[in-house]
Symmetry: D2
Subunit: 469 residues, 4 copies
């Protein structure tokens, strides 16, 4: 129904020195947001913009010898998440073009929900597209508005008036670096100060890794220009209701990142505590599904007073389920990457804590492995409410058919996965754990109500974007 999804990671840096090493480091820190490709652009001393990008992890896509050839005091970067239709190498970002107002590069995290409409509009106007990425669309729209306003900020605001959906963007125009967050703040973006420079980046953990200082989140609808010695905020179109994606805290972001003033680890631990309250269980041990369920399980253990144990050995030489592109590869990977630890499991009644259940296939396999290893009872507790609706904002959960919880009772799902009991955190509990008003969160995938217009779906907030900016 829409253009391709991009739950990815973005960064932009301006400093008094060559930013290539900092871009590389940052992309490795936010690598969990996308492992399919990586790329950077920098503005070199000859007044030209150079690009290096490729398939695979940062260390493969951006080999050190090639990086060593790049140099520039400002640049942006991107890591891309694998989605079904994104294998095409031409979709590797940043997307870079030459325009009348300079070289322009764009890195995009999120999903433009009216991509098809906008593509059609610009195609009709005689534009052509070399990719099917939001990044290219952004350059086209930006170019059009630049030719009218001849001012980047004005052009970006006009552009934001056309874009719908989620976007955290870093944009480089010659040597100028901008960060933009959509009017609902669906995807994260924050600002930091680093040594003689500034950074806009998807997650705050990257600022830590650069020994920098976190300044603040980019506000919804805000445009930030970062320079080496300061940054300039510009107010763009914002909605009166924010809609931060709850899944960033539940699963997507690094535990050590602070997203919209809430530390991810802290939220997860609180989720575990609330889960223990909402869905208690009489068991011997609490076990996480590593790695993403650990903080939730620790919270559950502390709140319940039941000992925390690591009952699964995770093979770090296999990728995490959620990140793999298709169902077949997902199943193949399970037995290679998880093995129960017998001494922990044997004869025990246990809660296993996972961050979320989408298809349930991995979980079913894991429970069967636990039983084979001698587990007496296996109770599943889940750190997010049942996922019943698609995400249109950049998380690769598309069709209702794939959600095991869609149209099934708790009991039915519990039987399918083979657990002794199954408990999810409630929406209220999740909201409490995040500690933000429900009206400031995007809960689309668990409520079916979306912050923005999605054809065929329910819209939560009918009010318009703020037009006075």
């Amino acid at each position: 129904m829409t253009g391709p999804k991009h739950s990815c990671g973005v960064v932009g840096i301006a400093a008094t020195y060559n930013v290539v090493p900092a871009l590389q480091k940052t992309l490795m820190i936010i690598q969990h947001r996308g492992q399919e490709s990586a790329g950077i652009t920098v503005f070199n001393d000859d007044g030209k913009m150079d690009i290096l990008a490729g398939s695979g992890l940062v260390q493969v896509a951006l080999p050190s010898n090639r990086l060593a050839e790049l140099k520039g005091n400002s640049g942006i970067g991107h890591v891309r998440y694998p989605t079904a239709d994104s294998k095409d190498e031409k979709n590797i970002q940043p997307f870079k073009v030459t325009t009348n107002f300079g070289a322009v590069a764009v890195a995009h995290n999120g999903e433009i929900t009216n991509y098809d409409e906008l593509e059609a509009k610009y195609l009709s106007a005689g534009y052509s597209f070399t990719t099917n990425s939001g990044s290219e669309l952004v350059t086209k729209i930006l170019s059009k508005h630049m030719s009218q306003h001849n001012d980047p900020i004005k052009a970006m605001k006009s552009m934001m008036g056309e874009l719908e959906g989620s976007y955290a963007l870093t944009i480089q125009i010659d040597n100028r670096i901008f960060g933009i967050r959509d009017p609902y703040g669906l995807r994260p973006l924050c600002i930091g100060e680093i040594e003689e420079g500034h950074i806009v980046v998807s997650e705050s953990a990257a600022i830590d890794a650069l020994n920098g200082t976190f300044i603040r989140d980019v506000a919804p609808g805000e445009i930030i220009e970062v320079m080496h010695d300061h940054f300039i905020p510009h107010k763009g179109p914002a909605h009166k209701h924010k809609a931060n994606c709850m899944f960033e805290w539940v699963y997507f972001a690094r535990p050590d990142s602070v997203i919209d003033e809430r530390e991810v680890y802290d939220v997860r631990k609180r989720i575990g505590e609330i889960l223990a309250r909402e869905c208690p269980a009489d068991v011997d041990i609490i076990m996480p599904i590593p790695d993403s369920g650990r903080a939730h399980a620790i919270g559950f253990s502390i709140a319940s007073g039941i000992p925390y144990e690591e009952g699964f050995m995770k093979n770090r030489f296999a990728e995490r389920t959620f990140i793999l592109p298709d169902q077949k590869e997902r199943e193949l990977a399970v037995s290679m990457k998880m093995n129960p630890i017998k001494s922990t499991v044997e004869g025990k009644r246990m809660v296993i804590v996972d961050d979320s259940i989408v298809r349930g296939t991995t979980l079913k396999k894991l429970i069967s492995m636990l039983r084979k290893a001698g587990a007496k009872e296996v109770h599943v507790r889940v750190g997010s409410p049942p996922v019943i609706a698609p995400c249109y904002y950049g998380v690769d959960m598309r069709s209702r058919e794939q959600f095991v919880a869609n149209g099934r009772s708790n009991k039915e799902v519990c039987d399918i996965i083979g657990a002794d009991s199954l408990g999810y955190i409630s929406i209220e509990g999740l909201v409490e754990a995040i500690n933000k008003p429900e009206s400031e969160l995007c809960l689309g995938c668990v409520s079916g109500k979306y912050p923005t217009r999605i054809p065929g779906e329910t819209q939560r907030f009918q009010s318009k974007l703020n037009e006075e900016f």
Copy 2:
């Protein structure tokens, strides 16, 4: 002064079957026109256009396993010549975009002389560019005119009204294949019939290799649409004077190709015959500089009655001088690729025949090697007049400074290269050998008079393009 040069090879094929093998074969046949990169597009059964392109020779750029994944009954292809600023992988062709009127791919041989003007014009209009290739420019201009005319032929004619310089283009619009030749016919392009299909391609030799039948050359200013069962010619803007590049016969094309009704081998042999008449020499043997000088030398031998000998061993594991990107690599390569055959050379007076002299550095080295091997006299005969002016139409000869004959007498050049005598064919002789009126040839690089407007250069023909088409 201009956009990048493309003396390359192009092809377009439509048939009732998968054309990928035929495209691959064709590109290998016209590989001599460009070894830096290769690419093809095809329109697949799902109604999408697929592309495969990469750096290097066809066998590297288009590996068999990847080709096997492509399928379509129509497609175009391109091989690219290395020029100084063309190393960038993004310039690999065909250039493919999505437009309002379908997927469009363009392969270009030649050089758009008003590239900078047109780029500036379209940038000002809000367009952005991802490459600096003529192919992308063509798509932009075509898109604009398509949005006005909504008819490919009309749009192509309007486009040709904007383009200056040389171009042999193959264009694919979804499953339709077009071939276009510039109003002067500067670069070659011809039509052939193959089994249940038709082809437009730079050189006729490719039609032979496909066991096809040569039909005719594309006329200057003509647009050809090829279908599997017929082809449709459309008259576009043409100049009353053709201007076929004389260098295609002298050096660039394969000897077995027929370009504008003149077989290349035949022209070269006649050049040799006329050279023997214009610049005779009292010698023992006639020797070619292999491989490109062979036909000229055979002609010289036959006309003079002096025996033909192969006095140089050419190492086929080194590239030909002219094709290498920079001066340093050129010099390095000489001693690796040519070695005199002592029995032939020792104690002999000889004519060595070369197709042309540009810098003269290779020739100087070769003559010195001949003398070291015992040659008694070395007389140089050249199959083209002295190159004294740049080519603006796609042959990589750019600055007057590099031409050894520029501003020097025949005697001076002869001394520089260390020959006993030096004789070039005259312009008249060359025209006679090609057997076309001088007014139908581009002799810009040997006369300094160009068929089209070139800032700072003399224009031969002041008349306008034919406007009635």
Copy 3:
């Protein structure tokens, strides 16, 4: 002082079907034992032995398309650990040769301490070497004894009489598969039954992953031949004192493996419990250094009643410190792979639990990061006694200079790493945790007393190998 070190992983499988997929799976499961190269041999239906081996992780070294070309009902495999002098590709294992008694392949985990003597001996006898690996030496010695005994078992026993040091070997002679463990049992090796087949492998976790059944450990000095339907044990030279490497439980092996009848996770948890008893601390939380310190920390938390917390975010896109080849790369990697979680750390007094301290450089960096993140007190507890002496049996700890604990008091080391206190488990505590007599363990690196003759070092056991076998 010796030949190259090989702390690696080995496997041998015989079954009624193609064992290539099982070999691949096994190598991925024991990948943590070596990531520098991987290889397998199989005996194909044409009566020949095929080999596939390469640099890098299993998925890179043994690409699926290449594996698909291999087929055989018996085979061995190897993953190699990077050591300083092992970069050479020729050292990739298995080492395969043709001999008078068939094709022979050898995979070796461990280190032959008299490698130099044996190499010299065989060189003097007119043998030549293509690598400097123990595997090749093994083939040479085996070949010599085969030409005398013409019986593999007898030849292997004679070979074991020459070899000193540690070795877990898998050997393939045409279609026969053998596993051998050195007379002290220094390196692990166990036997399992899989579907219609048998396996010898470094760690039991691999048997689980193949849905097989663990049978038993290979005894010190034992030679096992595995067939598809049974296995045959042969008694070789053994020492009356075993000397199982304590580091396999402390750090090297997977937590879900059972080594010499002790589950690794269980031992580690007990180490944590004993540490809590031997070196208690008045703190708010117990934190592991992930991933290897988790089980120790959980044990400490349970025994002390102090809550367990995950205070470090580990970036799974960086390798673990210990596994990286040189000091420079080690330091570079620290900041990329660990970041403190502020909410957990800030204002807290904490114990951090690590499995061992070798150089102390990573730990120092981590403590400094914790303090920067607001930690009030940082107490270090270590799951192994101070490492003060080299390992000569295959763990890459070579010179005393590199051990921070060598010649320094506890206080001095504590100051160097910047901790508030530092406590190691005692040797007695470690022995208690492993729950084996001290006389059955190799404690060389913490005691300086070695089970076998090492020039310049103290030998624990003076008795000879059992000669009657």
Copy 4:
């Protein structure tokens, strides 16, 4: 019936400076002798022997950046010819081992006819083999004799007493460089002086390319040690009849090389002259099959007075037929690499001259192409007598079944290939052209009589090797 065939190229260089660039250059000059793999060894300043070797052409197998890391004043090199069973990468040469008398590397051109016997002998003695190449066998035999004699020259002489068949070897023992030629001189090897150094190499053309001076051929049975300032010849076992392979002059070697005092180009031209005398034809033109038939055709043209023409365009982007590994690839390649030049061919009666006919398949295809292009008569003249018997000395012509001339009359072959007439040079004519006594040539493949013992074949010379050396 024997070990693998090696018609390859070898080189050894000793100088006062780093010989790596000279080795690379030499291998590119003798690249025509083998394109499947390339490798070099050098003895570096640290007293170790380094090796670099890989698959493919020199420029791929020995990439410049890797070569730049190698340095040494002495080294050897090898290019390998693709034979059916040689795809295995382990057979890439030089073969390098560590022995009791130093690091040893061996590069081999030729074929050890008693390979199987010797392999069995050494396997029985307890040796093991990692490859199935003559090079490794040579190291084993050399090692054995070194352990007896402790003198390289004596050991090499003893080794030559064991080896049968053809071999031109370059051997490096630490920093010493040796060249050895078999007792019959079957494969070429010559000595040259270069700047502050000496070289032994397969073909003299390489000495020219290094601006060196040809000294002389290595004599049959001779061992040459080259040093930077001189070379030392040692007399080894020689046969009183030389047996130089006639195919080196006819086809294999470069035309500019001088092999055993006969320049290749010169011999080929004389072959053409004698062919014109032995098998005249009443035609309009003489055409070569390029590239290898050119010199023969020029000779024919001069002797007959009939004009020489180049009637085939050869696509230099395809490999020569003979060099491709299997029949299928051979056929595929024909149409891609040869195209008749119509103006030359149409309506003409012609002789086409080829160096040799083995299978005849390519020739048949070419004649059919000529007829399609309008040739009136096509007469085939061949520069070697009919090939009717296998080569056991390193040319990849193995089974009698593949030879079109085997068991067929001239008329039958002529019909098969579709020629108007077919004429071969006679054995006597070939001997005359080479200008050496028939008793000094190996004519095995055209006479069926071999210089050395070959089980099942006729032996020409019964006399023994000279034993007094």
